[in-house]
Amino acid sequence: MEIFGRPLPALLGQLLLGLVNGSFYAILSLGLAVIFGLLNIINFAHGALYMAGAFLAWMGLTYFNINYWAALVLAPLIVGAFGIVIERTLLQWLYKLDHLYGLLLTFGLALIIEGIFRYAYGVSGQPYTAPEALSGATDLGFMTLPNYRAWVVLASVLVCLATWFVIERTRLGAYLRAGTENPKLTQAFGINVPLMVTLTYGFGVALAAFAGVLAAPLTQVSPLMGSNLIVVVFAVVVIGGMGSILGSIFTGLGLGVIEGLTKVFYPEASNTVVFVIMVLVLLVRPAGLFGRER
């Protein structure tokens, strides 16, 4: 069977690959949006911390024989703790300044983190094998579904929805939204806003590390894997706007799918299609699909 002259299995395969990439866009842009909401900082180090998550999983397996499932919990915890240290020692001094300084400082952090890993492991990638339980593929009749890729999409969507639930439907989330809207007033109501800010940054970067561990078996674990991704994620954030959490998730997944389809129909443009869409969105709806000007 063919659709637009392309064999169906190839199309579905790329669609799934697009969904996988889209899951990473969704988790990372969600983390960026949550951090930006409360800290007013665009975390340029997000890509580097995603890479650090993948490397922690690889190092855990290689040096300490820590398996994938444990890494999926441990790596985000370690990176989250590291994020808390960064927020307390560096970022907290910038809140009174122009937003741009936050971008510049985290850009410097990204250079440092990436440089250290590049020094230790070079630029070539390290292989990481998927756990036994998720290796292999399931035959669905019309296509074979690689189990691990299906797991990545499922896990990402669950984590994103859980984040949405916590922020939009719980008391803690209500505090968080209040802190985003008006930190001074929230503080006056006796809520510890600085603590919330610290934990939010830790949580945001832990999400990035989680995505990194998920990505480890799919690509080679390399020090450069984050910086290539983060620029695309920035474009995703511009397209979706950072106002809405569900918006970030949909935009991320949707753009991943579009990118996957571009790989089937016009592979030369697959690297740039997200940027082209960004240009179109800027022309038609400058505030972003789910954004509001502020």
Binding site: L104, F107, I116, F234, V238
Partner: protein, 311 residues
């Protein structure tokens, strides 16, 4: 007499004498990046717009000039003009898109647009892909003066050409900043809604500043191709965009001389460190970034001016 004028004259005299004391290629490289940094400063320092994709214009100039020199066999001044033109057009296009958003989004948009240019240079056949353009000939200036030194002699002709172009670019930026147009740019930087309510068409001024900055960045890139004889993917990489931000931060954002000093410091540092510490250079650049943002936001020139004024 004006203290600023003395500072400029001293710097110019030092640059005139430099090739007899220091390795000329290093100074020429610094001059190229200094012009690039000054062009960037016109945007960040005097209009308040942080472009995180200025490497796109630097690279467009580098590749544009490289292509003209390599494939059309034009004279160097035509090559420089082609590079500048390509960068200016690209700047007008990207500027028109990027000024539709502000602040942090502006930075992300310029970064994303620049990444498109990077992928274009990586994939398009006319830019030479991963190899870039190598062995770009320098040719004869105006068809008369050979810029190619013979028998490994120091490249004085090339050096003074580069110095002249840098001085012209620097002067243009100086004049722009001190013109009525420059005052409006500063008004936009300080308070955009107020500038708008005073009746200035803010978007037009921003676009013009962006295009001018992109064109000058392109000239700097074209000059770099002429000096080093190659244009590569490094020229359009986001790391180069980051470097030009760092040069401004170290030297002093919004000061006239800051970017020149910053470019001198960063390029010299990279040259010195590359042999000694290898891959640690990136880490050191990152540390300088963090330290500058946290403790040293006025930069070298900003600190000096601040101290002198408070005395």
């Amino acid at each position: 007499m004006n203290r600023n004028l003395i500072a400029y004259l001293v710097l110019f005299a030092l640059l005139l004498a430099a090739p007899f004391v220091v390795y000329p290629v290093l100074v020429m490289q610094i001059l190229c990046f200094a012009l690039f940094a000054c062009a960037f400063n016109l945007l960040l320092g005097f209009t308040g717009l942080l472009s995180f994709g200025h490497a796109a214009f630097f690279g467009a100039g580098a590749y544009g000039a490289g292509y003209a020199l390599l494939h059309w066999g034009v004279t160097p001044e035509v090559g420089l003009a082609v590079g500048t033109l390509v960068a200016t057009l690209l700047g007008a296009l990207f500027g028109a898109l990027a000024i539709r958003r502000q602040g942090i989004y502006f930075a992300m948009i310029t970064l994303a647009l620049a990444q498109m240019v990077y992928f274009f240079c990586l994939q398009a056949p006319l830019t030479g892909g991963e190899d870039g353009m190598q062995g770009v000939p320098r040719g004869k200036l105006l068809g008369l003066l050979s810029l190619q030194p013979e028998n490994n002699a120091p490249a004085y002709a090339l050096y003074y050409t580069v110095l002249a172009i840098f001085a012209a670019g620097f002067w243009l930026i100086y004049r722009t900043v001190h013109s009525p147009f420059g005052q409006i740019l500063k008004a936009i930087r300080e308070n955009e809604p107020r500038a708008l309510s005073l009746g200035y068409e803010v978007d037009r001024y921003k676009l013009l500043a962006f295009t001018l900055s992109a064109g000058l960045a392109g000239l700097a890139g074209a000059m770099k191709t002429l000096v080093l004889g190659f244009a590569t993917l490094t020229d359009v990489h986001w790391q180069t965009s980051g470097e030009v931000v760092l040069m401004n931060l170290v030297g002093g954002v919004g000061t006239i001389l800051g970017p020149v000093i910053g470019a001198g410091v960063i390029i010299t540092l990279q040259n010195e460190l590359a042999d000694k510490v290898g891959p640690w250079v990136t880490v050191i650049m990152g540390v300088i970034f963090v330290v500058c943002v946290l403790l040293f936001r006025r930069g070298i020139v900003g600190e000096v001016v601040g101290r002198v004024k408070s005395d």
